[in-house]
């Protein structure tokens, strides 16, 4: 069963059920299926038959879903790009994919990224204009469907560092991963899922797939930072699940508790992702949810949803990302971890890509089906996985390996510290030493000696930063991960 099969199945079983809601309209499963079919037929009239990839750049909307599924339904892979992509990155990605067409939303059309001299040799097509054209088509002949091993979508990822790599995800990977999500987290067609996460990322896209496979209703929101709108939508649609990054959950807790109780208590599930979640956030969100669950997962675009964690009362596990998903194998690279307790995380399973998109260098991350994730972590005695950071973020001081998060956690306890980031800097004797950048809280008169003394009292001596700098801001990606490469 691929996504189109599932949508067709939903349209046949529950044709009048509202399956897709955005901030402007609602579509039943039947309406969505018909729109997708029309979209596919129209694409086939506008592109050359050898087209393998079509690009899509759009914020969350039902039109995004129509275009995404419509392209797939035409036997073509969808290249998904962030709406905030730079002109240069977009050009590079389009050239790399060999994409022959770009669909865009009306908003992204106005961003100006398509108007550079010498840009792509074709004009981006606003999704809405294609919809106008498709409205004139009346025949109901269905178009071709891809085979399981064909690429469903292609996302470029670089984590927080490195060259962007194209990650082609096949239909059978989507099916495997989505069935795991449904089985582990208990999704069903009675669910109403609020998704403020961008669909052009693996987290949000996986949520869309889950709703389609489960036959539930998805509510698509455009802005993950509009907390009031998220809470209102949960309440308005009697949502049963919400997907949000940890930073959103932490921000929720600054709002009035009565509002949170009123809006969130009906949820059976909040799913978040593997950026570290403060223990206190886990505790307080669980308290608000009463009988509902807070869950997280660990995964990459290359190996989506490799673990799952449903938080229980055991606070010792509140920083774990859980156990491997069914059918997924995870191991720690013991060979290179040396004396440290952690090593690089390797993943193998049907959720893992076979290779990157035309990128032999990146393919070296794959060894006998095992994907080297670049993340470091360890298993506890009960088989729970704990993340420690990125392999390329590990600081090696004279043979002592340190993950920056160990230092940052301690520094953030100091009154007057709003945020901090640690990273390695070259040192002639030690190889590397630690530099710490600190963003002070407003009106704080914190000085470096206070930080050093606190570190001295709470960290091993090889983890004491050798340089400290106060900064106005710490660069982060949209999931809240520190962009350390920009600090070095």
């Amino acid at each position: 069963m691929n996504l189109i099969d599932c949508l067709k199945n939903n349209a046949e079983r529950n044709p009048t059920k509202i399956g897709f809601i955005d901030e402007e309209r609602k579509l039943t499963f039947k309406e969505m299926y018909d729109e997708v079919q029309r979209f596919s037929k129209n694409i086939s009239k506008h592109i050359v038959p050898t087209t393998k990839v079509v690009s899509l750049i759009s914020e969350n909307s039902t039109s995004f879903v129509i275009a995404y599924l419509g392209i797939i339904n035409s036997g073509i892979a969808v290249h998904l790009t962030p709406t905030n992509i730079s002109e240069t990155s977009l050009v590079n990605q389009v050239e790399s994919t060999g994409s022959k067409m770009i669909f865009c939303s009306e908003i992204t059309e106005k961003l100006g990224i398509f108007h550079a001299d010498g840009f792509v040799p074709f004009t981006p097509v606003p999704i809405s204009k294609l919809a106008e054209m498709t409205a004139r088509l009346v025949d109901n002949e269905e178009v071709q469907v891809q085979t399981p091993t064909d690429v469903a979508y292609l996302i470029y990822t670089s984590g927080t560092t490195g060259e962007p790599k194209g990650v082609p995800v096949s239909h059978d990977m989507v099916e495997f991963t989505t069935k795991n999500i449904i089985d582990v987290l208990g999704y069903s067609e009675t669910d109403i899922d609020v998704i403020p996460l961008p669909l052009y990322h693996s987290f949000g896209l996986g949520c869309l797939h889950t709703s389609i496979f489960a036959g539930s209703t998805i509510v698509l929101l455009k802005n993950a930072d509009n907390l009031e709108n998220i809470l209102e939508s949960v309440k308005k649609y009697n949502a049963t699940s919400l997907a949000a990054v940890p930073a959103t959950l932490t921000k929720f807790l600054r709002l009035d508790r009565k509002i949170l109780d009123n809006c969130l208590q009906g949820l059976r599930l909040i799913i978040t992702n593997s950026t570290s979640i403060p223990k206190n956030t886990v505790k307080e969100i669980k308290d608000i949810l009463k009988g509902g669950n807070l869950a997280t997962y660990y995964g990459l675009t290359e190996a989506s949803r490799s673990t799952f964690m449903i938080f229980n009362e055991d606070s010792n596990l509140h920083e774990s990302v859980g156990k491997p998903a069914p059918g997924v194998n995870i191991k720690i690279d013991d060979e290179h971890k040396g004396e440290s307790e952690f090593g690089e995380i390797l993943v193998k399973g049907k959720n893992v890509i076979k290779q990157y998109w035309n990128n032999e260098k990146a393919d070296k991350n794959m060894e006998d089906g095992w994907l080297r994730t670049g993340d470091v972590g360890y298993f506890d005695d009960d088989g729970y996985l704990f993340l420690k950071g990125r392999n390329d973020e590990v600081i090696n001081i004279g043979g002592e390996k340190i993950v920056p998060q160990d230092i940052e956690q301690v520094v953030r306890q100091i009154p007057g510290v709003e945020d901090s980031a640690a990273f390695g800097i070259p040192h002639e004797v030690f190889g590397q030493t630690i530099k710490l950048v600190v963003k002070k809280a407003a009106n704080s008169d914190l000085d470096k000696l206070v930080i050093l003394t606190h570190c001295m009292n709470n960290l091993e001596k090889f983890k004491i930063p050798s340089k400290i700098e106060f900064v106005d801001s710490i660069p982060k990606n949209e999931y809240g991960k520190v962009k350390r490469s920009m600090l070095k």
Partner: protein
């Protein structure tokens, strides 16, 4: 002030075990990391920056004071 740095970096150091002339080799736990910590504290406390050579050469509290003074002149 330099004495305070020594008690920060060597928290188990007793008052009567501190000596201005006491050398690195006479401390139980003055290893290369402790050396790095001493330099880091001194740089932060006096808003100065040592060269690598200076950092390596300091072997006693007295030498640390002399190096600091040379930067403050």
């Amino acid at each position: 002030m330099v004495k305070e740095i020594f008690f920060e970096v060597f928290p188990t150091l007793a008052e009567n075990n501190f000596g201005w002339e006491k050398e690195q080799k006479d401390y139980d736990n003055w290893d290369s990391f402790a050396q790095l910590n001493l330099i880091t504290f001194a740089e932060a406390k006096f808003s100065i920056e040592f060269s690598l050579e200076e950092s390596i050469e300091i072997k006693s509290a007295r030498e640390l004071v002399e190096r600091i003074n040379s930067h403050l002149k």
